[in-house]
């Protein structure tokens, strides 16, 4: 139980590891989908290739779109790409980094599907059994009135009667499956070599320092977006609470003498209103909230928070006899 909580916390703490987790889940879903899918070769010369290649390539496209959809970086990248410049300069390298990260993750599940189909071999058998030369194998059934192409197309269908008591079908299946697995392993080897080369050679081309900056600011955008959403939620809650209480008190004005708050009312208000007023940050009208949200999009603030730390306070100042400015706390 504790371990599960720790694992969940670890994944949630870092947005990148959440994306990786989702990516892996999608790859597992891809494998599960393949095993639960009932592959049903039509065993007809006109439709074999179409069906097989369709099953090999359409699910990867679907999985790719799904991968792009569930990835958080997609939204962040689109926001950063489309936003107006405002007070904050745009760095195209950040958008490129987010795009490549998103693509890499989204491409994993489709590749897993394609590799699993190749290594399993059913699809290749269905698609290419008609192209095999039957002379390579003995035992071609010749007691039916079907032509050779039609017979070869039926190789993928185990339970077809023309192949009873014949090892011809099994031989052709093995042959085509061999090819399929060879292609699968070659693609896997190629991809891994490509990945390794990419990792090894990249530092020669990219400045590591600028890469660190880009990675930092990509992560920053993600965190900022999350915090903005959270702040909006908290703000809405406080806004709603105040609005409701104010509504009740407005009703009271019509029937009850409205004196400046007698002690039992102000005792109640004083405790929770101080904290609430602070959390509203002075935004107390609908127009202000609309303006705030509008401004968040059209003119994001500059990345400078020194003012919060050294906020000026209202106070009285005067000079002493030496000319030095003195401040008083109010």
């Amino acid at each position: 139980m504790e371990r599960l909580k720790l694992v969940l916390q670890y994944f949630q703490s870092n947005s990148e590891s959440i994306s990786n987790g989702i990516c892996i889940i999608l790859a597992l879903v891809s494998v599960k989908l393949y095993t639960s899918f009932d592959f049903n070769c039509p065993c007809l010369p006109e439709y074999n290739k179409l069906y097989s290649l369709g099953v090999m390539f359409i699910p990867p496209i679907i999985l790719f779109f799904l991968g792009v959809l569930v990835n958080r970086h997609t939204g962040i990248m689109m926001d950063e790409w489309m936003r107006p410049i405002g007070n904050r300069s745009k760095n195209p390298a950040v958008v490129k980094y987010l795009f490549s990260a998103m693509m890499q993750r989204a491409l994993l599940a489709p590749l897993v599907w394609i590799l699993v189909t190749l290594l399993d071999g059913k699809i290749f058998i269905c698609a290419f059994s008609a192209s095999v030369d039957p002379a390579l194998f003995s035992g071609l059934p010749n007691n039916t009135d079907l032509n050779v192409i039609k017979i070869m197309s039926k190789v993928a269908c185990k339970e077809d009667v023309i192949f009873k008591n014949s090892s011809f079908r099994k031989a052709v299946s093995r042959y085509v499956r061999c090819y399929s697995q060879a292609v699968g392993w070659s693609i896997l080897l190629f991809l891994i070599v490509l990945g390794a080369l990419g990792r090894l050679i990249k530092p020669c081309f990219d400045e590591h320092a600028s890469f660190l900056q880009i990675r930092y600011w990509s992560n920053y955008l993600d965190v900022e977006q999350k915090l903005f959403d959270e702040t909006c939620v908290l703000h809405a809650r406080d806004f709603a609470q105040k609005c409701v209480v104010q509504f009740f008190e407005d009703m009271r004005e019509d029937t009850v003498l409205h004196l400046p708050h007698p002690p039992f009312i102000s005792h109640y208000q004083e405790d929770w209103q101080d904290g609430e007023a602070e959390r509203l940050h002075g935004i107390t009208k609908q127009e202000q909230v609309d303006q705030l949200l509008n401004k968040w999009y059209f003119s994001k603030p500059e990345l400078d928070v020194t003012r919060i730390g050294h906020r000026p306070r209202t106070c009285v100042t005067w000079e002493d006899h030496k000319g030095k400015t003195l401040y008083s706390d109010v």
Partner: protein, 354 residues
């Protein structure tokens, strides 16, 4: 049990992820229902098509409506739609946003049913076996010599294993129709995913600023409703408590009640616990102490919602009010727990700032 509770807490913490959780559960329920359901084609020319296509379309409609029923936001949407304008403007984009998000979530379980049905192929086989062209599968002269009605009756029996004798035709035909069914299923999935991709990934290109606004205010409407319910509950509790207290006090005599009220509105520092609790209950009444007042509050909440503008002076001036209240309010305000029926008056507020 503990794991289950943790998952439940995690999902509930966020309203949106709770709805996503319900969505996922319904999708799984949909897939499970399909596998548990025993598909039995009638194998008669008149009913095959109706049964096959009906099973493809009616359960998704049912799941779609169930999605609406289970979604809490539907009642929020309906309330926001029907409320009178009053002091608060109505924004149609909020209604559209809420409707879109409810619809998107409700569409997942039907989509799962349709794709599972198409991938399985049985419903297509049942519906379209009559329209098959047997010549495609081989040279079957005995079928060509049959009359039309007999041929249709024979073809209609293809989905039923135990009613159809010619195994090769049945197997070949099943394969063929199942192929087409699966192709339709994959294309359906591709279209749905592509549409979702367009909506989610391309939308930020167009209406991002307005989208942030509508998202905030839709969420606000939901939260405000919850806050109102909570405040009403607390008010009702205090109302009931004080009502019963006063009833008992009235029974036990006028003198005691007079004594109690005079004591409770002086600012005594050495009050005992009872007085503190009574004062906090009085606080929670927020000044509403009569049935008509409460009815008016509830009625006005529907017919004339307040404007979305919080009064600043309430937050800045509360310190001032407290000082004033201690000076004035105790004397003129309340006696014996009754408030005078005085109309709204102007009063002079003097500020003593420290």
């Amino acid at each position: 049990m503990d794991k289950f509770r943790m998952m439940f807490q995690f999902l509930q913490s966020n309203q949106e992820s709770f709805m996503n959780g319900i969505c996922g559960i319904m999708a799984l329920a949909s897939a499970q229902m399909y596998s548990a359901f025993e598909f039995s084609c009638p194998c008669m020319p008149e009913y095959n098509y109706t049964y096959g296509i009906g099973l493809l379309i009616v359960p998704p409609l049912w799941f779609f409506m169930l999605g609406f029923v289970l979604n809490n936001n539907v009642s929020v949407l309906a309330e926001e739609w029907k409320r009178p304008t009053g002091k608060r403007r109505k924004d149609p984009s909020i209604l559209r946003y809420m409707f879109c998000s409810i619809t998107q979530r409700s569409l997942i379980a039907p989509a799962v049913w349709v794709s599972v049905t198409l991938m399985d192929g049985k419903s297509f086989l049942c519906a379209f076996s009559i329209n098959l062209d047997i010549d495609r599968f081989g040279n079957y002269s005995f079928i060509r010599e049959m009359s039309e009605t007999d041929k249709m009756k024979l073809l209609a029996k293809i989905p039923c294993k135990d009613l159809f004798e010619h195994q090769e035709i049945r197997v070949a035909a099943s394969r063929y129709i199942k192929c087409i069914s699966q192709a339709c299923g994959w294309i359906f999935l591709l279209m749905m995913t592509f549409t979702a991709f367009l909506i989610r990934a391309i939308r930020p290109c167009f209406t991002q600023a307005a989208f942030l606004k509508t998202k905030y205010w839709s969420h606000y409407v939901d939260i405000e409703r919850k806050m109102f319910d909570e405040t009403c509950k607390e008010h009702a509790k205090s109302f009931a408590k004080i009502c019963i207290q006063q009833y008992f006090e009235n029974i036990s005599g006028e003198m005691r009640s007079l004594h109690h009220h005079r004591r409770s509105y002086k600012n005594d520092s050495d009050d005992d616990d009872d007085e503190d609790k009574k004062r906090s209950d009085e606080d929670k009444l927020l000044g509403i102490r009569a049935q008509d007042d409460m009815n008016k509050v509830l009625w006005n909440w529907h017919t004339s919602k307040p404007a979305l503008a919080l009064r600043k002076e309430q937050m800045d001036g509360e310190n001032n009010g407290r000082l004033n209240g201690e000076a004035n309010g105790t004397i003129n305000g309340f006696a014996k727990g009754h408030t005078h029926d005085v109309g709204k008056k102007e009063w002079a507020v003097y500020y003593s700032k420290v």
